[in-house]
């Protein structure tokens, strides 16, 4: 009886665990549904633009025309994966996002945490933030151009502003979401106010903070593009408007799809960082079967 129990199976680790997970994933329907979904979408797009050439859709480049240009060494409309210009636009936009998202996170997270932690800081700042928050980002465009010099300033300012509000609010709500009993337990155990901040407020708010950061990086992208469309010299948003003005529609769509991919990738990075910092949370959710 004991001999069979002694032959324990070793849980896979490291690379083997990765292989196990990949195998497991492909035994289920999920990845195939994703592939099918993408193809269905592409097919519909192709039917509308190139297959049946439905009215108005003829103005748009279809998937075949786009991929021909996108992957060509000599693109007909100037933008492809082989042109340096394409990467200039991407890197400029990415840099701006990094700066804007960095500033917004660096200011927003501490501010939100302090607002959640201290009643008086909240009373002082929250009404002002709530008043400014509903103002649409596009409404800030003239003010930011008047206030800040050059192209970079206003563009980064607008992206920062949008993502700052989301981050701050989520960090504050994150503190609100922490169960009162954790504060009491920390008090009983002899914590100073600063100990409570480090050991209860910050880790307790992390799940909300990262939900906020995922939204905020998305918000940063769309306000950045909006800003680049109005005031800019480079960047994917600028590329879209510039292409449209010059009546070259292929680069316009390429820039849009590129934005989609980069946006997806940046959210995934934020999510991965969150999961890494919150092992406890991931495991807790896993225990609940999620």
């Amino acid at each position: 009886m004991n001999s069979s129990a002694n032959t324990t199976t070793v849980a896979p680790e490291g690379f083997n665990l990765f292989i196990y997970r990949v195998k497991k994933k492909f035994t289920g329907p999920d990845p195939y549904l994703t592939v099918a979904g993408v193809f269905l979408w592409l097919f519909t797009y192709w039917v509308l633009c190139e297959g049946l050439e439905i009215w108005r859709f003829t103005k748009l480049p279809g998937p075949v025309a786009i991929s021909k240009d996108w992957f060509s060494t000599t693109p007909f409309q100037g933008i492809s994966i082989f042109t340096a210009e394409y990467y200039d636009h991407i890197s400029v936009s990415c840099q701006r996002i990094l700066i804007a998202f960095g500033i917004a996170t660096g200011l927003g997270v501490p501010l939100g945490l302090f607002m959640g932690w201290s009643r008086s800081i909240r009373d002082y700042l929250f009404p002002v933030i709530e008043l400014l928050r509903p103002i649409p980002i596009l409404a800030w465009v003239p003010l930011s151009i008047l206030l800040l010099p050059g192209f970079e300033g206003p563009v980064i300012f607008l992206a920062t502003l949008a993502s700052f509000f989301v981050t701050t609010l989520n960090a504050m709500l994150g503190v609100d979401s922490i169960d009162e009993e954790y504060f009491r337990a920390a008090g009983c155990l002899g914590s100073s106010r600063w100990d409570v901040f480090k050991n209860v407020v910050v880790p307790g708010a992390l799940p909300f903070i990262f939900t906020g950061l995922q939204i905020s990086i998305g918000v940063a992208w769309f306000s950045l593009v909006a800003a680049e469309m109005v005031s800019g010299d480079l960047g994917l948003g600028y590329l879209i408007v510039d292409a449209y003005m010059n009546n070259v529609t292929v680069p316009m769509v390429i820039a849009m799809i590129t934005l989609g991919f980069i946006g997806y990738f940046s959210s995934a990075c934020v999510r991965a960082l969150g999961d890494k910092l919150m092992g406890w949370h991931v495991k807790e959710l896993a225990q609940q079967g999620r």
Partner: protein, 282 residues
């Protein structure tokens, strides 16, 4: 009895005198505790039994320093915790609370949770605290789980770890607010045995709120039955069953008799509480 001879050295005598607590969250005064007095000797296991919402937790919160009291005073070993001049007691590691829903920090492993108290009180260096925490968890039978997060272990294990987290600080009083409420009968049994074992080892004063009458008699030296809101002491039943107690105790004649006695007193209050609840709803 061995308990009486060591009584002089033991710490953690709680004296609750004429405590009254009035809440007024909606402008209407609600009296949660009314002129309630209780004496709890050092090293005693004192069980508080009463209907839901009667103000037992209010009393515990006052001792722990979470809430203020309106009138009266509470002393611990002759020292004033809260009274007319200081309505709210200061929170301190000498009075450790084990919460109803469990309050281990979910973002710390069991070991980090246990080590937290001595670390922030600067009683031990962080590495010493971790070491001692690991040891104490192992003594409580959790040696294989010290690196686990609370979300990864069963509720019974989490509760045991929480009691270890309290005991590592050498508290004078352990305040437990229905800690085993949501547990199944089998887990509860194991929890009781583990708590009794801990008590026999440390002799800490225990202030334990419960709804479970068998639990109250099985664990307690005294069972204080309190009235429905406002909370007052109705009756004290002394449990003269010698320690160490084992599960067979529960089927003894003495135990059954005590159970009937406590049940009579509680039932009356429960009916009152239920009727009052009906009136409030209507």
């Amino acid at each position: 009895m061995a308990k009486n001879t060591s009584k002089t050295e033991k710490k953690g005598a709680l004296s609750i005198k004429n405590v009254t607590k009035i809440y007024d969250p909606t402008g209407v005064n609600v009296m949660a505790v009314d002129n309630c007095s209780m004496e709890i000797a050092a090293g005693e296991v004192c069980m508080i039994v009463g209907p839901s919402g009667c103000g037992k937790t209010t009393l515990l919160n006052a001792i722990a320093g979470f809430h203020s009291i309106t009138e009266g005073s509470i002393h611990l070993d002759g020292e004033l915790l809260c009274g007319p001049e200081r309505p709210k007691a200061e929170q301190s590691a000498e009075r450790m609370v084990v919460f109803q829903h469990g309050a281990l920090f979910p973002w710390k492993t069991l070991q980090e949770n246990v080590a937290y108290g001595p670390t922030v009180q600067k009683a031990l260096s962080p590495s010493q605290a971790m070491e001692k925490g690991g040891q104490m968890l192992a003594e409580a039978g959790l040696g294989n789980f010290i690196k686990k997060f609370p979300g990864e272990v069963s509720s019974g294990m989490a509760r045991r770890a929480e009691i270890v987290r309290a005991l590592i600080n050498n508290p004078k009083v352990l305040l437990l607010d229905e800690p085993y409420r949501a547990m199944d009968a089998l887990t509860k049994q194991i929890m009781h045995e583990s708590l009794l074992e801990t008590y026999d080892r440390t002799g800490v004063t225990i202030f334990f709120i419960t709804h479970d009458l068998e639990e109250a008699i099985f664990l307690g030296d005294k069972v204080h039955i309190v009235t429905t809101r406002p909370c007052q002491l109705k009756k004290t039943v002394e449990v003269k069953i010698p320690r160490p107690r084992s599960y067979e105790t529960q089927s003894s004649e003495k135990f059954r008799k005590l159970l009937v006695e406590v049940n009579d007193a509680v039932h009356e209050e429960a009916v009152k509480a239920f009727k009052a609840g009906e009136r409030e709803m209507a």
